[in-house]
């Protein structure tokens, strides 16, 4: 039985699940993926602009760290993205695919704007801001509650339901703008720009500092909630195995609804921060795609709020940098989306090398 007479060729390699991998190896792989993605991104920009790659990197860096103003703008972007990422995380941990963060933020923001626009000059500012905060949170909850209740009741597909809710929110905002802006223009200017009613105050002369502090606190609270609270534990159990959850007497439907209320409330809060703290106006692009980006941020960070600071920084840094490149080299700002897409492809792709190993068939025969 000579070996040369094999009828078919052996496969060169096959896959096996890794039993475990040291954490530093895993982060090495992720780091390598991020660096390779940055190289690919730069290559693309170099091809498009025919600029020196170093200049491209310098511009990328300047987008976030070029001036103090840019730095704060990046932090503000990071804070909002992080806030929405924190919002979607408990639901995702439960394997509830909430693709509706965009709509929840938007509707939450709309609720704030209604108060700001309609009664902005009628009640004291502090009261107004508190009322806006509550309205936004309730709005976000409402938008998350419909799909959550139906998921709990009939198992209605939540990802498509929440997705559709986004567009309903968009249409509502368009409607409101049509009503508020009499000229028929679909753009709404700054609201209460003279009285600044409903505007969050600047702290230490920094307009965005309050937003950033709120989100920083939220990050720590969410980390503790998920890891050390009983509710957080229930979320993990339901996410891992619904049968086990039922077996130990967890009311799965209750947990789904409760967690989505939390998720919606935080999205509403993000809407409030955007309207009251950042934009002081509303448009249907209020969340600007962050509702979807947040899903990726949360996923890349494996649902860990602390790691999410890093992943959302990465995205915010990249988007600001891409914006800078776009202005410097006279390109369209959508380059940011292209770069974001590429970097996410690389990171989700690299997880494979953490979870699986490629075994060479030859190697083993040699043993």
């Amino acid at each position: 039985m000579s070996k040369n007479k094999k009828e078919t060729k052996e496969p060169l390699f096959h896959l096996a699940k890794r039993p475990a991998i040291e954490w530093w190896k895993a982060w090495l792989i992720r780091g390598a993926a991020i660096i390779s993605s940055l190289i690919v991104c730069a290559l693309i920009i170099v091809v498009l602009t025919k600029q020196n790659p170093l200049e491209v990197y310098a511009a990328l860096f300047k987008g976030s760290f070029g001036t103090q103003r840019k730095f704060w703008a990046m932090l503000q972007k990071l804070a909002i993205l992080l806030c929405i990422s924190l919002a979607v995380t408990p639901a995702f941990k439960m394997k509830f695919w909430n693709l509706g963060a965009e709509g929840q933020v938007l509707f939450g923001g709309l609720c704030s704007m209604v108060l700001m626009f309609e009664i902005g000059d009628k009640i004291p500012n502090l009261l107004l801001i508190i009322a806006m905060l509550i309205a936004s949170i309730l709005g976000g909850i409402l938008w998350a509650l419909f799909p959550a209740v139906l998921k709990a009741k009939w198992g209605t597909n939540e990802s498509l339901f929440t997705l559709m809710m986004n567009y309903i929110a968009i249409q509502l905002v368009s409607f409101a703008i049509m009503v508020w802006v009499p000229s028929g223009s679909s753009v709404m200017g700054l609201v209460n720009s003279s009285t600044k009613a409903g505007w969050l105050p600047s702290l230490l002369g920094q307009k965005y500092l309050l937003n950033i502090i709120v989100v920083a606190v939220l990050t720590i609270v969410m980390f503790i909630y998920l890891k050390y609270s009983k509710q957080g534990y229930e979320i993990s159990v339901v996410g891992e195995s619904e049968n086990t959850a039922r077996y130990i007497g967890i009311n799965v439907k209750k947990v789904i609804i409760r967690t989505m209320i939390l998720s919606g409330a935080l999205c509403g809060l993000a809407g409030f921060l955007l309207v009251a703290g950042t934009n002081h106006t509303i448009s249907k692009d209020l969340a600007g795609g962050d509702g979807f980006t947040a899903i990726m941020v949360s996923w890349l960070a494996k649902f860990n709020p602390i790691t999410m600071v890093v992943t959302s920084f990465l995205i915010a840094f990249l988007q600001r940098g891409a914006g800078e490149i776009a202005t410097n080299f006279n390109l369209n700002t959508s380059i940011a989306d292209i770069l974001t897409g590429i970097i996410i492809f690389f990171i989700i792709g690299c997880e494979f090398f953490i979870n699986y190993q490629i075994k060479s068939t030859k190697e083993k025969e040699g043993k």
């Binding site: 078919t8 496969p11 009983k230 049968n243 086990t244 007497g249 083993k364």
Partner: protein, 514 residues
């Protein structure tokens, strides 16, 4: 002898750190039936999966008709005319029998399902199967599904047939029919491998027996020249009669009373039919029956996980002396009643434990609600985890290791350990030794006996009749969702239970044939 139809040399396969097969050799000739014998978890199925292309061996050689081959996919296996009938049927639920049978075939010409249906009918008549090719799989009984699997292999003209525990889901009558079919195939000159751990079947159907133990090849014998005790010795390593200790129940009082319980599955099938029995404190009540006779639903009804249509579940509380109805209560409500019910379900990682959590977090599953704090207290679960790891000799790198990285036996120890630690008054265990080695199995038996001596009412659902007879005080036999008898473990024997297991089967006119 002639060239073997299939020959394996030095086959090895590891999963992660677990060696499923170590240097296994095996030979099968045309026109013979070979039994592949071994305990649960001895690597039989893994070995056969490497012949049928599901797994790829880490090392070793496979020869078909004397020529070395490489099988890297099920398609390669078909090309070598190898067909395997898996224990878990590989059928598409919403397809018809005929659609499933022709699935993946690459015949020339236009695809014509009618032609395929006719060919299926042809094969059915030739071997005496009874099947409607246009019936959808989700409307079929288990034995019908198995028939579809076998026809699928025959349709492809397989020369080597591998059957993975084909009788586990069949009634004795159906088994008899299956064996008749296998003998016909043998006369046709086909090479047949039947995986089993039932000794009487080995002796009845096979020409030769190959034995595996813990992934290693032990040897091959001519069936005519061997007997049950020799095979058992090869299978388990040393000759053992079970010798499980059994004490007399003390101060037995009624603990749990089930009256006229009816239960219907989601598809409308009556899975429990008028079940009545009583479990006493300080005894082990065994539950025997063919797989799928309603064992799972019975336990889940008691645990509050399965909707009940009719009947009563009554608990006699030893502390308060009161009697409570558990029917239509959620697990939470049952707990709030002060009922200390522990339950080791059949599917450990699907229900009972969370695979991605570590041992400590799994310990908390039952107890995390304790106290008013909104935060978790991991101190007690940690010490419980450490205690279980030492007491039950759980092999694990640490208490922080995710459960899914442990072997089946260690997972089971963690689960049983946790359930017992709750000091239950009723303990229900389903197939607790499935996939465990002999030592771990005895450890589990001892734990159950300890609980019994503490006055716990133990319900033990098992599949090995020898164990049931030696361990349990009384044995309740389920057959098609009905109680076909309750026998005394000290006086009964296997044939009595075996008979009860098939009593009341639909179409089970066994007495006509006898």
């Amino acid at each position: 002898m002639s060239t073997p139809a299939i020959e394996l040399k030095n086959i090895s396969k590891t999963f992660g750190s677990i060696a499923a097969n170590k240097g296994v050799n095996l030979t099968v000739y045309n026109g013979e039936i070979l039994s592949l014998l071994g305990e649960n978890g001895s690597g039989k199925t893994t070995l056969m999966n490497m012949i049928s292309g599901i797994y790829f061996p880490d090392a070793g050689h496979i020869y078909i008709d004397g020529k070395e081959v490489v099988i890297r996919s099920p398609k390669d296996a078909f090309d070598h005319r190898i067909g395997m009938i898996h224990q878990h049927f590989k059928l598409v639920d919403i397809f018809t029998a005929a659609e499933n049978i022709v699935l993946g075939l690459e015949e020339g010409g236009r695809f014509n399902i009618k032609e395929a249906e006719n060919k299926v009918r042809e094969i059915s008549t030739r071997y005496g199967f009874d099947i409607d090719p246009t019936k959808k799989i989700y409307e079929m009984s288990v034995s019908e599904k198995q028939t579809v699997e076998i026809i699928k292999v025959l349709y492809r003209g397989a020369n080597i047939l591998i059957l993975d525990e084909p009788t586990a889901v069949l009634t004795p009558q159906e088994t008899k029919k299956l064996f008749a079919v296998l003998r016909k195939m043998k006369e046709d000159g086909k090479a047949i491998v039947i995986i089993t751990h039932k000794l009487h079947e080995v002796l009845e159907i096979s020409d030769r027996v190959s034995v595996l133990r813990k992934g290693e090849y032990i040897g091959t014998l001519e069936t005519a020249n061997t007997d049950e005790s020799e095979l058992t010795e090869m299978m388990v390593g040393k000759k053992i009669s079970l010798n499980i200790d059994r004490s007399e129940p003390k101060d037995s009082v009624d603990r749990l009373e089930i009256n006229n319980l009816d239960c219907i599955t989601r598809d409308g099938v009556k899975i429990l039919d008028n079940i009545s029995f009583t479990v006493k404190s300080g005894e082990i009540l065994g539950i025997a029956g063919i797989a799928g006779s309603g064992q799972k639903e019975l336990l889940e009804s008691i645990a509050g996980l399965q909707k009940v249509r009719n009947g009563e579940i009554i608990y006699h509380n030893p502390k308060t002396g009161s009697t409570d109805s558990l029917r239509d209560k959620t697990p939470m409500q049952i707990k709030e009643l002060g009922v200390r019910l522990s339950f080791v379900p059949e599917d450990r990682l699907g229900m009972g434990l969370v695979g991605n959590m570590d041992i400590i977090d799994n310990m908390m599953l039952r107890s995390y609600r304790k106290g008013k704090s909104v935060f978790l207290n991991r101190k007690k679960p940690r010490s419980l985890a450490d205690k279980i790891i030492t007491d039950l000799e759980v092999v694990t790198p640490s208490a922080n290791t995710p459960i899914r990285r442990l072997s089946g036996g260690n997972v089971q120890k963690v689960l049983v350990g946790r359930e017992i630690s709750a000091a239950p008054t009723v303990l229900m265990v389903a197939y607790p030794v499935r996939g465990l080695d002999i030592n771990s199995s005895y450890l589990i038996y001892n734990l159950l006996n300890e609980q019994k001596e503490k006055g716990v009412a133990v319900i033990f659902v098992g599949e090995d009749l020898d164990v049931l007879i030696e361990l349990c005080d009384r044995i309740l036999v389920l057959s098609s969702g009905r109680v076909s008898g309750i026998v005394d473990g000290r006086t009964t024997d296997k044939s009595e239970i075996g008979l009860l297991m098939t009593k009341g089967e639909e179409g089970g006119e066994g007495n006509v044939e006898e």
